[in-house]
């Protein structure tokens, strides 16, 4: 799957959890999930599980801990999907 499609899909998954619509309107690879999109940290597990289901991959807790930006999530999905 091309990176643009993965990006769109990740953003769609994040959307219901985002508390900053302004940041979502200009979301990019560098946008931080907690800091800029204001996703509640208690909902991150929900996001990870939805990403796992959507892309049919498994993400370990250690891998999830390294994700800070939307781009981190996209790259993680791309690497996992390739594996």
């Amino acid at each position: 799957m091309p990176q643009e499609m993965v990006f769109e899909k990740v953003v769609t998954i994040l959307k219901p959890f985002v508390k900053a619509p302004d940041a979502l309107a200009k979301v990019g690879m560098e946008t931080t999930i907690l800091g800029e999109l204001k996703v509640n940290s208690a909902r991150l597990v929900d996001v990870v599980l939805e990403i796992e289901d959507a892309f049919d991959i498994e993400v370990t807790d250690t891998e999830a801990d390294k994700v800070s930006t939307v781009g981190d999530a996209v790259k993680l999905v791309m690497a996992k999907a390739k594996a």
Partner: protein, 152 residues
């Protein structure tokens, strides 16, 4: 592995904010709890004066004490020693609940909770609250997260 009695003993909520009398079933996938609302519960005086009805938020709390707190303690007890479990409290993170009936003073309710997921100390459960005759009062999905208590 913690027994149902041990789990009950580890639930931090106490009267007047304790809404679980018994655990009828408890395993990795589900918890079933029961509670009888006493006629003298403090909130009935104001909700509503002369016409007491159990507040919906209390019913949500009742569902959470079985579906998140008790089940969460049991699941954490499978991974951590009892002393560690005792230092953890479950904080409410999110919920979607729908009500169908009211609960009056003196009525006994049953909570049937089924685990949706348990990961990184976050528990999400489908919960159904019903009366003794089986009538459904409320149902929904609730989530909570185990966090370590602040040292005092």
């Amino acid at each position: 592995m913690l027994t149902a009695d041990e789990v009950l003993a580890l639930i931090p909520q106490q009267r007047p904010f304790r809404f679980i009398d018994r655990l009828l079933a408890l395993d990795e996938a589900k918890a079933v709890g029961e509670y009888t609302f006493r006629a003298d519960e403090s909130f009935y005086a104001g909700h509503f004066p002369g016409d007491p009805v159990t507040p919906g938020v209390i019913l949500i709390e009742t569902m959470c004490q079985t579906g998140l707190v008790a089940l969460g303690i049991y699941l954490l007890g499978l991974e951590q020693p009892r002393e560690e479990v005792a230092k953890t409290v479950t904080l409410f993170t999110d919920a979607a609940v729908e009500f169908e009936r009211v609960v009056l003073p003196g009525q006994t309710v049953r909570v049937d909770a089924e685990r949706v997921f348990w990961r990184r100390r976050k528990l999400k459960s489908n919960v159904t609250l019903s009366l003794a005759d089986g009538t459904t009062v409320a149902r929904g999905t609730v989530s909570g997260m185990g966090v370590r208590r602040a040292e005092r």
